[in-house]
Amino acid sequence: MPAKDVFGRAFPVILLTAVVAICVSLLTYVGSITLPRIEALEVQKIQGMLSGMFPDMSRYTFEDEIYAIYSDEVRIGYAFVAVGKGYGGAINILVGLEDEATIKGITVISHTETPGLGSRITEDLFTGQFVRLSVDDAALRRDGGQIDAITGATISSRAVADAVRITAMEKVKVLEDSEEGG
């Protein structure tokens, strides 16, 4: 087969490979310039949420997936991320604890719940119910807790309440264990 024919037949493959190579390089480049910014934004977001929850926060540490919140070197609380299984997927919630048994407050970090129904878990009307609530009471009323579910969004509401309660209990256990050990 003459060389020209071989090239002609291989051309589609060569072109596709070249296009993919160019696209991959472009993506790698864009990814590398945006990654630091995206990460910085994430940190900023968490920091903003933490200081919204603990207005007296002067600094925080992050260890064992638990944020310890300090105000002038005095520990004023803990925070951690709880993941609930919502109606539309995972719900990430930042939970703040005042002490081992009391919730300071919650903030929904991200979710994919139904707009207008489940998405109302982000509203103060719902999240406000968790403020100063005992960890044990973080459950829907019909499940024996203190939280009023959002009308038409029982699954989302329950996912949040249960995730908060269960994760808080786990984290408190981790904290107690580490205190005993240390």
């Binding site: 051309f11 589609p12 493959v13 072109l15 596709l16 296009v19 993919v20 696209c23 472009l26 993506l27 864009v30 990814g31 310039i33 945006t34 910014r37 995206i38 934004l41 977001k45 991200s110 994919t112 139904t114 707009p115 207008g116 129904l117 038409g152």
Partner: protein, 203 residues
Amino acid sequence: MGKFAQEFAKGLIITNPVLVLLLGLCPALAVSTSIDNALGMTLAVLIVLLGSNIIIAAMRNFVPSITRIPIFIVIIATLVTVVNLLFHAYLPDLHETLGIYLPLVVVNCIVLGRAEAFASKNPVVRSIADALGMTVGFMLALLMISLIRQMLGTGEMSVFGVHFFSLPVLSSRPVAIFILPPGGFLVIGLLLGLFKWTGVLKR
């Protein structure tokens, strides 16, 4: 009317991508729950469609037909990912509002449809006009659908956090079905029927 204007204008009504070509119905249904989403989606589609139309029109003379679809898809997917990353880094609020629908632009048939039907056969300048026209047509359709859905489904008229007015009864008792998937089908179906009936979209 110049060629450029002609290619631009056809996307608005005569071959409106959503209402006439019935392309991109998936994003049109998914993101038309609020005007914010509709406008954010339009911005993403504008960047991707403009980029893909320009690149594909520029490459049209040497892309072999046998591998054209994979090449188009790779180019479109790359553009979508770039837009996704840039939005994430520089427009985090918009990125959050659009959520999963932003990466889903890659399966928006309007983008591949225009690449295949127009950009691969026409010069760059006319492909730019085509991309702009199609995007504006997409925006008009999305705005119409999302306006109805947002009004009925939430009773609130607000755009990007700026609140304009609330409807008296609907804001306290919104018809939630309109911002759920079935509401999207209802609204788009009724709009299509209305346009067919009144003959607005007659070619």
